[in-house]
């Protein structure tokens, strides 16, 4: 017996040994490379893991976080958001001049701006970019915000023969090479901030035309005027960026080079981080715990809200307000984020996530306070009884709760069901399905209760609130409230930011009282970041990171 064991061991060693010997010499190279990096003056280079490949680096067609992040590195808008999410002048010389009626923005560009190839960047490059983004032939999907420019909505849905006329009528003009004038359909209090988002970046017209359908596909088919240049793009593998010496603020860009490796598997990301092949990686599940309390642990609070949606026609008992309130109130948000999510997320205290600006230089959550009733089992039981009485029922029929089938979403689903059973004695059935299917079912009102998420398109409460009006295609709950519609309309028309903020608070209070949706948590994301990396900006929506101000210690 012992002989056999020895044999097995010997064999195993041989098998591993042969493969290891073949590449032994490469090993030494690796260790010496590491030694060089930790020399006296730190190399201004870093490696980042990213979970997805940017589908295309074209600011008109981009829809994903990956694409926006990379475009934000190689190009720039009139403004750039700083570490607090406030717009600071980018390609624009200073803040916009806004007309009395809040509809016209006049913006002057910096002197001597150039594209990365040295050719001059003009105000007309913004005009052509906006028009291209709205042209139906571009097949852009995420252009509704650019559509807020006067005549924008009409251009998005224009018939081929009307396109040229609608383009000419669009409310954006280059008054001269350095002055841009944008006219809006109606006032948008947060429009300056929007101009920092990649959808509003300039495009070099002749270059885009020359590349045609290939624009944004490879390093030689991309051009920007941002802090970095895309040097190499091995698809699905890595993107290599280098500092752009022609960037207007090149003197303040310290990072010389960074490589983005496409790593989908969180465990591999952590392994690469542990072997110093990555300086920034996402943490999920158990890895969050592993890094908790260490200097590498970095949390980013996102402008993303997770909530339950109650479909009132599919499950008629959900048309009862007390039932909806009871179901929401019976979920212990604190336990949810601490024992299930464990990623720095915070329990919801309303629909609009913490960190969202109110359009009046304040944080909405601080202005509004907690509009959502707290976790309260006794109260929830009471409300349930009241609701059942009103409905003439003795108990709720068994209903389905639909959610994504990712690990995290499934755990959330289990948690909610357990809470209902334990706190209310309510039985529900879990229905985890793929993400695409979940979105489809949500859009087609084919659910009873559904766990959904919404991430901000822009930093303002409206991105979370106008979706619940009775005419919004996103409101698939069959809940409708004329009072709510009116408040949202009032906020949209209100030109005074302070008054608008108040109306929005009122609207959220109404929504949280009616509770067509039951907010669960405000999402956070956790990273492991090498302590030597300083000044990395982790924006709370749309963009993963901004390295303009990053340096290596």
């Amino acid at each position: 017996m012992t002989l056999k064991k020895t044999m097995v061991a010997a064999l195993a060693v041989t098998v591993l040994g042969t493969t290891a010997v073949g590449c032994g010499n490469n090993d030494t190279k690796n260790s010496s490379g590491d030694g060089g990096a930790s020399g006296s003056a730190a190399k201004q280079e870093m490696n980042i893991n990213f979970t997805a490949e940017p589908p295309v680096l074209d600011s008109s067609k981009a829809t994903t976080n990956a694409a926006f992040t990379m475009i934000n590195a190689l190009n720039e808008g009139l403004y750039r958001l700083d570490k607090d999410g406030k717009p600071t002048p980018g390609l624009a010389k200073d803040m916009p001049k806004i007309s009395e009626d809040k509809l016209t923005y006049t913006i002057t560009l910096r002197d001597n701006l150039t594209w990365a190839d040295g050719s001059p960047l003009k105000a007309s490059d913004f005009v052509s970019s906006f028009k291209r983004t709205l042209d139906p032939a571009t097949k852009a999907q995420y252009n509704f915000m650019v559509g807020w420019i006067k005549g924008g909505e009409a251009l998005i849905t224009a018939k081929p023969e009307e396109v040229q006329a609608k383009k000419d009528a669009l409310g954006v003009k280059a008054l001269d090479d350095k002055t841009l004038e944008i006219t809006l359909e109606k006032p948008v209090t947060f429009f300056t901030q929007l101009l920092a988002f990649p959808l509003f970046f300039p495009q070099k017209e002749d270059f885009v035309a020359q590349q045609g359908d290939k624009y944004g596909k490879d390093p030689d088919k991309v051009i920007g005027a941002g802090p970095f240049i895309l040097k190499e793009w091995a698809h699905e593998q890595k993107l290599v960026f280098e500092k752009n010496p022609k960037y207007w603020d090149a003197a303040n860009v310290k990072l010389e080079k960074f490589t983005v490796n496409i790593v989908k598997e969180p465990a591999t990301g952590v392994n690469l981080f542990d072997t110093k092949e990555a300086d920034l990686t996402d943490l999920t599940g158990d890895y969050v715990k592993q890094f908790e309390g260490k200097p590498e642990y970095t949390v980013k609070k996102e402008l993303t809200s997770a909530y339950l949606m109650f479909e009132q026609k599919k499950a008629p008992f959900l048309a009862n307000k007390n039932i909806r309130q009871a179901l929401t109130m019976a979920i212990n948000g604190k336990a949810h984020v601490e024992t299930v999510l464990k990623n720095g997320s915070v329990p919801a205290t309303g629909l609009v996530p913490a960190g969202t600006a109110d359009g009046n230089n304040e944080e909405f959550r601080k202005v509004a306070g907690d509009t959502q009733p707290k976790y309260d089992v006794a109260k929830a039981k009471e409300l349930l009884q009241k609701g059942l009485q009103e409905l003439g029922m003795t108990q709720l029929p068994k209903f389905k709760v639909t959610a994504d089938d990712t690990d995290g979403a499934k755990k959330t689903l289990e948690f909610i069901l357990a809470q209902w059973k334990q706190n209310l004695g309510v039985e529900a059935v879990a229905e985890p399905i793929t993400h695409a299917l979940r979105v489809d079912r949500q859009n087609s009102k084919d659910y009873e209760v559904l766990v959904s998420l919404w991430g901000a398109d822009y930093n303002d409460p409206m991105t979370f609130m106008d979706m619940w009006t009775s005419t919004s295609p996103l409101n698939t709950t069959d809940w409708s409230s004329p009072a709510y519609d009116e408040l949202i309309k009032k906020a949209e028309d209100e030109k005074d930011p302070a008054a608008r903020s108040k109306v929005l608070v009122e609207a959220e209070k109404l929504l949280m009282d009616e509770m067509p949706i039951g907010p669960l948590y405000f999402r956070s994301k956790v990273y492991a970041k090498a302590p030597k990396v300083e000044g990395i900006v982790l924006p709370s929506f749309g963009i993963e990171w901004d390295l303009k101000w990053t340096s290596i210690k």
Partner: protein
């Protein structure tokens, strides 16, 4: 022989046609919107314009005819996830990595598998035989989704011998290739062992020994050369198996291969990508089967005749 080849060719084309058709209708009926999340951020009017731009508003049968026409021309369409990139380009970008990974895995499997098989056969029913077969069984019982993370963590991070992921240098190929090839080791080792035992019992081996040939010479010149034939015949299908089975290993080691597109395209309902990948992989499989059939026919006339008579 020509008749046989033509017959096989026709059946291959019919198979591909059926696969393409079935795939088309299955993918069109997948629940979900090809614009995914973005579909929520569009007005109904805009969505209608986009559907028109992509030809999704046409009747299903018309879309089918158009799709088949394009596929015949070798055009698999434009991916919904990757605007500006055709499915053909995406395959061209990603397949080389899968192929390379598959070839390395196969190489490892062949070298180790054959060695184990030979060692086992030469030590029939002795310790080394059991040890070799035990290793082979371990190989087949540990799936790559378990072996991959173990290798990445222990060999990659703890021992630091090889990078735990990515695909830059030859060094980066080692761990994913082992993870992918290990289960094939078992198959090849067992096959080689059986085949070796068969050959070792043949009269000509006894003759060779009787002639006074050395043990090494008998084994190398007579036994292995004869025993390896059945192994070579299974390499074709195994090869296809390995390169189409890279999905999990690619994910674990961040290999920029084709596998992940399968899962991702289904999750996002990227219909053109789903269709394109299915057709591409089916084509590889069908062509390899076709070539194997012809090779068999060439090698063994009985197969050709039997089929010819039907």
């Amino acid at each position: 022989m020509l008749k046989f080849v033509i017959r096989r060719l026709i059946s291959m084309i019919i198979t591909l046609f059926l696969i393409t058709t079935v795939t088309f209708f299955l993918m069109m009926n997948l629940p979900g919107d090809p614009f995914g999340e973005m579909s929520q951020k569009m007005s109904a009017a805009q969505r209608a314009v986009l559907y028109q731009q992509y030809g999704l508003d046409k009747p299903m049968f018309q879309q089918y005819l158009q799709y088949m026409g394009n596929v015949l021309k070798g055009d698999l369409g434009v991916s919904f996830q990757y605007p500006n990139t055709s499915v053909n380009e995406k395959i061209a970008q990603s397949f080389p990595a899968s192929l390379e990974l598959g070839l390395w895995a196969l190489l490892i499997a062949v070298v180790i598998g054959l060695l184990l098989g030979i060692i086992a056969a030469l030590n029939h029913n002795r310790g080394l035989d059991y040890a070799a077969m035990f290793t082979a069984v371990v190989g087949v019982s540990i799936p790559s989704m378990v072996l991959g993370p173990l290798l990445s963590y222990y060999v990659g991070v703890k021992l630091g011998w090889f990078p735990p992921g990515l695909w830059d240098t030859p060094k980066h190929r080692v761990l994913p290739a082992i993870a992918l090839g290990f289960s094939t080791v078992a198959i090849l080792a067992r096959l080689m062992r059986t085949s070796m035992l068969d050959v070792l019992n043949q009269d000509y081996i006894k003759t060779a020994k009787a002639k006074g040939l050395s043990q090494t010479s008998t084994v190398i010149k007579h036994t292995i050369r004869n025993a390896i034939l059945p192994v070579i015949t299974v390499l074709g299908p195994i090869f296809v198996n390995v390169i189409t089975g890279t999905l999990i290993v690619e994910q674990i080691f961040s290999v920029p291969g084709l596998g992940k597109h399968f899962v991702q395209s289904i999750q996002t309902k990227d219909i053109t990508m789903i269709g394109g990948l299915t057709i591409f992989y089916s084509a590889i499989l069908v062509v390899v089967i076709f070539l194997t059939d012809i090779l068999y026919g060439l090698v063994d006339p009985r197969i050709r005749l039997a089929k010819g008579r039907k």
